[in-house]
């Protein structure tokens, strides 16, 4: 299957954006969670800082999101797992609102059963894209679902702060040596589809979008406490507010 330059460049740019987003989130997540800003005696406070709670990052899994979403249009819907940032970014969820939401701010709301199964052995955006083509065509024809298993990688722990005692300490270093963003960059250059200048521009653009989103989130207002009572049910808020 031949993928055109436009698609490849889109996938590359989105992968860079996702990676930078996750790395930025990893850093911001740690703010306010370390001594001496926390309760005495603690090494880390999961509830502290601008982004409290558990953080599940998707760095390393970019090929899966872009390989899938490259086939999708605005009318399509994609559902991720608890580790969904890469899908959200590849599908085009507005970064500012998404980041503000993760800051808890107002977002200015502005193979059985006959299902075909395909296994993608490489954590490679082009391979995911190619595997998705027949599956999406099948779904669009109304012929039913497909199961695609991608052997992808996860660079960060299950959650930020995870001691990762379940995998060898050097596993991530080995994975990063075959980083899918680097692989796609190499392919684009080998095919003379991307110059070093173009690459620099793409990376800068992607990183600027992420930086802007984090600034937006940090500068957004927190909601009013009473807003906690809205949205338990749909329809007009006044009649469906929780009865306290």
């Amino acid at each position: 299957m031949q993928i055109g330059k436009e698609k490849l460049m889109w996938m590359y740019e989105k992968m860079v954006e996702i990676r930078y987003y996750e790395e930025t989130m990893a850093a911001v997540y740690m703010e306010g969670k370390l001594p001496p800003a926390i309760q005495k005696g603690l090494a880390f406070d999961i509830g502290g800082g601008p982004v409290p709670g558990e953080m599940h990052l998707a760095a390393g899994q970019e090929p899966v999101a872009v390989g899938v979403c490259a086939h999708l249009s605005d009318d399509d819907t994609v559902v991720g797992t608890h580790r969904p940032h890469h899908f959200a970014i590849a599908k085009g969820v507005p970064l500012d609102a998404m980041t503000a939401e993760m800051f808890g701010k107002v977002t200015d709301r502005a193979a059985g059963y006959g299902i075909p199964g395909i296994r993608v052995a490489d954590n490679d955006a082009v391979a995911v894209f190619e595997a998705m083509a027949p599956a999406i065509a099948r779904a669009r024809r109304g012929d039913g679902p497909s199961l695609i298993e991608v052997r992808t990688d996860r660079y960060f722990g299950h959650f930020q702060g995870d001691p990762e005692s379940y995998r060898p300490q050097d596993e991530v270093a080995h994975l990063r040596a075959r980083d899918p963003i680097g692989l796609l960059s190499k392919l684009l250059k080998e095919r003379s589809l991307m110059s070093p200048e173009e690459e620099a521009a793409v990376v800068e653009k992607a990183q600027q979008r992420v930086t802007r989103a984090f600034a937006f989130a940090a500068n957004s207002a927190y909601p009013n406490a009473q807003d906690a009572l809205a949205d338990v049910f749909v329809q007009d808020h006044a009649s469906t507010r929780a009865l306290v």
Binding site: Q39, L42, I46, V51, G104, A225, A228, L229, A242, L243
Partner: protein, 346 residues
Amino acid sequence: MKTERILTMAQAISEAIAQEMTRDEAVFVMGEDIGSYGGIFGATGGLLDKFGPQRVMDTPISETAFIGAATGAAAAGLRPIVELMFVDFFGVCMDQIYNHLAKNTYMSGGHVKLPVVLTTAIGGGYGDAAQHSQCLYSTFAHMPGIKVVVPSNAYDAKGLMTAAIRDDNPVMFMYHKGIMGLPWMSYLEGSSNAVPEEAYTIPLGRAKVMREGADLTIVSLSQMVQKAMLAAHELQGQSIHAEVIDLRTLVPLDKEAILKSVRKTGRLLIADEDYLGFGLSGEIAALIAENLDTVSLKAPVMRLAVPNVPIPYSRPLEQFVIPQVADIVQAAQALLVGKLARAVAA
């Protein structure tokens, strides 16, 4: 002279389990990340090293299978302790819990013993959102057939865990994350206290008067007891004397302890971190309503609980829906408004 040994609740729970495993070979532990990880909230720390993988078993993420396995093992004579990380996740295996574990004793005419201890983490306050922050103890107390233990401190946790393991019935042991004394989550320090080294039991179904007082009764449980104690201390400065009752277990419920205290104070505030509707606070209010022939109230019963909304992620929203120390203080003041007015007049 022997100095007191202060333990966190997590340490107290794992010590109780270790002592019972030493005492009784039928006791074993299984669950997700309870082995080398020591339980994500530290409740099984050190057990794998001490007892090995035959008795401390990490399971796959297959809750229906391992809760079912625990039920079967208990029916066959073992005494499993099985952990399911967050109470919020119990939905995936409810058939095993409420159709099998909770009912098989009854449906066998009392012949089948199922001594399973189901441990899980509850509670919010640290920004973990609607699917990781619930208490839900009322849900499990509502369903007949499971005892429900909800400790507020390390001393009680050890004695209650030991009693739970020795109990021949299914027991749900629910520990609040915000009192486990974890090095990675802020907690209310009153929950870490002196714990004897030797094994001891605290009978299930016996509440504890944490602090005596004549003006009002605050009935509470789990982390909310620690908040109630802080509130009672603050109220003391305003000459309001609160009696704080720690229920310790919901099933069995120590009704007599509640009635006795409310007969004395005439005022009741229920401080609860579960949902307000159809739950613990309503049950206790009903208990008082059913006993108005022997309890005389000086003010209507007051309830503090999570308004009927999922726990929000955003910090100001989460702090708003979960009752805080200041909310308890304010509610107590409202209950005592008559007394305060008289004091001002005098």
